[in-house]
């Protein structure tokens, strides 16, 4: 497999062909679009359960839009292809991302983001397994207190993504933000919670 990780001539030729003028360039773009559409259909297909309310034609439209958007992104970012993977693997990730984001957003279209109260019941439910006793009760009670002490944005993201299962792309869309920015909020919230629990002398490991 090591050969696949080197810059094989076919990988370079993909970039050259996509940059070519005239018929050669158009043919390469059409060939790439077909590959992206295949990848987008693959992603939409594996997420079909999330889209059970959509007609088959709508799912195909979604795959087509994902392939179109991925093609535009790839043509903008051709300079960033470093040849460290096959060109097709590099290209597929754009189509899969576009399709996954579109499916998540479509699945949440018209749905409200769950309220904090739902998160507290999920937390209480998770913290009440039989036989763990007072130590666990203290840990989960402290966790709720420390979550409530987080700054507004950190708490909002943590509660939605980690406790209420809202996809981060959907939340980013609603808040006018990006996955990366919200993940930074989530990461900082988690770090603050770990520090706060450790300061209380609480063990935060999982298992046993």
């Amino acid at each position: 497999m090591a050969t696949a990780l080197m810059t094989a001539p076919t990988e370079i030729s993909w970039v050259d062909r996509l940059r070519a003028e005239g018929a050669e360039g158009r043919a390469a773009v059409a060939e790439l679009h077909a590959l992206l559409l295949k990848a987008a259909r693959f992603e939409v297909g594996r997420r079909a359960a999330e889209l059970s309310h959509l007609r088959g034609g709508d799912q195909e439209d979604l795959a087509q839009q994902a392939a179109d958007d991925a093609l535009m992104a790839i043509l903008r970012k051709l300079d960033e292809f470093r040849g460290e993977s096959r060109f097709t693997t590099w290209a597929y990730k754009f189509a899969l991302l576009e399709a996954a984001v579109k499916v998540r957003k479509r699945a949440w279209q018209g749905r409200e983001i769950p309220l904090e109260d739902e998160a507290w019941s999920a937390l209480a439910d998770a913290g009440a397994p039989a036989g763990r006793g007072a130590e666990d009760a203290e840990l989960f009670a402290a966790l709720r207190e420390e979550i409530e002490r987080l700054g507004e944005r950190q708490r909002e993201v943590l509660v939605a993504v980690a406790l209420n299962g809202v996809p981060i792309d959907v939340l980013a869309d609603r808040l006018g933000s990006t996955r990366g920015a919200l993940y930074k909020n989530l990461h900082d919230a988690r770090r603050n919670l770990r520090v706060a629990l450790a300061a209380r002398g609480l063990r935060v490991g999982t298992g046993g």
Partner: protein, 77 residues
């Protein structure tokens, strides 16, 4: 899911991996290389430090990884 598994899953989602990890942008940049290394059975986690922790902490990036891995595997069959 058993109660203890649910407890650990919730704690894992709330507290995250608790170790150095890539950002979502870095994850996307490295995803194709990480997937090819993984599918080839090579030491992907040693070659791209912080990727495994990020995939453990970010459900969306973890789904992107699983999709690309499965598509590349299917293509290789």
């Amino acid at each position: 899911m058993k109660p203890d598994e649910k407890r650990d899953a919730v704690l894992g989602r709330v507290l995250g991996p608790g170790e150095p990890e890539l950002t979502c942008e870095q994850c996307f940049e490295e995803l194709d290389r990480y997937v090819e290394l993984t599918v080839a059975g090579e030491a992907a986690d040693a070659r791209i430090p912080g990727m495994r922790a990020h995939l453990d902490g970010c459900p969306a990036c973890a789904e992107d990884f699983a999709s690309l891995r499965d598509l590349v595997t299917k293509e290789g069959d």
